[in-house]
Amino acid sequence: MEKKESFKEYKDRLDTALENDFLRTAMDNFAVAYRTSRVTAFLEMDVDAVIKEVAAIKADAVKNNDRLLSRFISKAKENGITVHLADTAEDANRIISQIAEQTRSKKIVKSKSMTAEEIHLNQWLENKGLEVTETDLGEWIVQLRKEGPSHMVMPAIHLSRHQVAELFSDVTKKHQDSEIENLVKVARRQLREKYIQADMGITGANYAIAETGTLGIVTNEGNARLVSTLPKVHVALVGIDKLVPSIKDALSINRILPRNATGQAITSYVTWITGPSECKTAPEEKRQMHIVFLDNGRKKIAQDPVFAQVLQCVRCGACANVCPVYRMVGGHRMGYIYIGAIGLITTYFFHGSQNAKHLVQNCTNCGACKAVCAGGIDLPRLIKEIHSKIQDELGHPLKSLLLGKMLKNRKLFHRLLRTASLAQKPMTGGTPYLRHLPMIFSKDHNFRILPAITDKPFRDRFESLCSPVKKPTCRIAIFSGCVQDFVYPEHLEAAMELFHGAGVQVEFPMDQSCCGLPALMMGEKQAAVDVGLSNIKAFKNLDVDYIVTLCASCASHLKNHVPDLVENYAAKEAAQFSEKIMVLSQFINKVMGINHIKNTADAAKTAFHSPCHLCRGLGIRTDPKTVIAHSGHDYVKTDEEETCCGFGGSFSVNFPGVSKEILTRKLDDVEKSGATLLVTECPGCVMQLEGGALKQNRNFKVKHLSQILQPSRPSST
């Protein structure tokens, strides 16, 4: 089953998708529409509380899976259902084809089941000479096209009505008009016959209620009802992760699943099946009903302390709906069978590292998926864990290995940066930018103008910028991060002026190094652990109240991930360290005092790009905007304020084509707002946005927040 696709081939597929105008428009419209409809769907409830509740229900169910399974089985048997347990995909396929054989079923109708896709059930049954017809409209379309679904709940979202009309014309051997209502009618006619002729119906289930032995199926079209009512045999294929204890739990999932999936309060049909119902064509007028419970690695996942939460997924597909990469390239390039963020993770478990190894890198780590996940899964973190795991298994690529090794050795790393600063001279032509890219980059990377490495990093400037403060109002240490230390020291210099004006005593421990996020992004977990530990050590004995950084990515990594990474080595120190981390806007608002910011006479219409690691990573949304407003600039809200800029560190290097398109979409949105200034609070975002704005000759400037702020009174020293 495993195919070996090279990274280049994978990227070519991405590029083809990027050139597909219909797909691009369809995905973009969907992303925009989904955002609004989800908000509307949850208007009457506290969405975070509902997510918490569902996550807890699922987490508990994963823990008690064995008990729930045996409870369900005994109930189901009582109710007259035959239950089968399948350890592997092959077992499940075999069991189902045997049921077909025993019941002399030749024709099968199916309602949509991702689990059946997972085990390639159709292929298996067709190889046994059985006729299988998908009855969900989208699923039927992709079946006819011999494709897989490109979204968990909207399988044919990548296709236009014209493509469907062409397909249906072929199927019916008659020209079909591309009007959607007509196409739906074609399906209604064609599939009705299939239901009537079918000997066996196969469904999945969205949940299995242990207490009552009930399967729940959530659909809009009503096809699952026909599939489980007309044929004389009903087989339900159910992953063991679908078990929940009670009806109440099932109702909680009902509340969130359709709202999160498509922004519907509820789907047209929710079907609960607790036993074999009447079937007038079956012996004794009772349908034969089978449930095949599938393990296929789930039990092992359930026992894994890190990955158990994967099974909290309710398969709503929301992680794809909000993913900036999915929005650009669609589902067939964002999953193997399972799509979206969850697909990047489960592909590894269900379909192997060969199928997962490229996919898992196609993540900007923006955290949009985590913010909407109905099961409360920390998707971005698990994607990184999988990335690291795959590299441990298949071998670390040279470039990530080198990066890991280099980051672990701060002195070597910084020496390299200084050497690079000299080596780039022929490329800068005396400007602060690289006028052409060094040979190691390909042409694809030329979508933004990259800044040059400074000839004097912040660490070399610090001493001259720092003079002792009499009676300091507060003591802080700066965590510079590599980019601001070596590329944008001016961001930190601007901040130093603010600190001085406010009487803040500043320290800069020289042993600090990269925060470790780039290593994690490249799948070098051990290197991330090592630099995490050395940073903790570098700040350990300082007498400071806060550690302030101007980089949202560093802040979120240091606060949220470092404690987890070094848990087994320095848990207590890490907690003390991460507690002190603050980003600039937060520090100004909460500690330093906003009155130390001068009201500018030179106000500009200012859009804000909220870095992913700021708004979602740290939950900071108002601080930067309060600061902008106080500085005298006119803040203007943009539709995509919280959408990723496409930087993602190594992401933009690995996937320049996708990165460029995400960036362009972002810049379009800013331009639409009429802003003349775009401000953000992360040097990575500045690099991406400024580089893109320059390259594309956009009519607005890009600045770091610190650069638009001036102290209300000059330095006190």
Binding site: A26, N29, A33, N79, G80, L137, G138, I141, M154, A156, I157, L159, S160, R161, V164, I180, V184, A187, R188, R189, L191, R192, E193, Y195, I196, I209, T212, T214, N220, E221, G222, N223, R225, L226, S228, T229, S246, I247, K248, L251, S252, N254, R255, T262, A265, I266, T267, S268, Y269, V270, T271, W272, T274, G275, P276, S277, E278, K280, T281, K286
Partner: protein
């Protein structure tokens, strides 16, 4: 939530999914309305012309009505040239004009109807018809699914329990995310709210 509010919430939410709600005093008026709706309706499209002989008469399937209610409807149908059936719904796979069912519950929060039934006839009558007429007593409306979990529990304890939560007509947005009604099941849903 008081009864009036409950009813209006139910109506509001059901209308959001394009269900058409009619309030009628009692079952007699509900039957009258049913026949009226059937007469207004076009003949249904025969989806399987090779299997099902096209008839000139409109068909209503009403398998789960109480015998005396069924008889009353039969009388009305005869008067209006409509065929009323309660069996062999399966033998009309090409489609029938109308399925009429009495529902167990309504859920105001989402405008949902609940129908629990082991009977193939009852279930098929809600699936193979072009118009589904659902009769619901206002006293059977509950505020949320969550607060009726005990009632649902009792429901699924019945042997061979098959419970449908129906909200609006059969729909799909699988082609270009454009909403289209009636992909497999009914093209329209009428809800007749009756007093007790």
């Amino acid at each position: 939530m008081n009864k009036e509010k409950l009813i209006s919430k139910f109506k509001e939410k059901a209308s959001l999914v394009a269900a058409i709600v009619h309030e009628v005093p009692g079952i007699t008026e509900a039957l009258k309305k049913t026949v009226e709706l059937c007469l207004e309706k076009d003949l249904c499209e025969n989806l399987m012309p090779t299997t099902q002989t096209p008839g000139n008469l409109k068909i209503i399937a009403a398998p789960n009505l109480e015998p005396e209610v069924y008889d009353a409807l039969q009388l009305l149908c005869k008067k209006n040239g409509i065929t009323l059936i309660k069996e062999d719904v399966r033998h009309h796979p090409g489609g029938i004009e109308m399925g009429v069912t009495v529902m167990d519950f309504g859920i105001a929060e989402t405008g949902t109807l609940v129908l629990n039934s082991d009977s193939e006839e009852t279930r098929l009558s809600t699936m193979l018809c072009e118009t589904h007429v659902a009769i619901l007593k206002t006293s059977d409306i509950r505020e949320t699914a969550l607060i009726m979990s005990e009632e649902l529990n009792e429901m699924v304890k019945k042997p061979s329990s098959y419970t449908a939560f129906i909200t609006g007509a059969s729909r799909t947005a699988d082609i270009e995310r454009v909403l289209a009604i009636g992909v497999h099941g009914p093209l329209a849903l009428h809800i007749l709210l009756t007093g007790d």
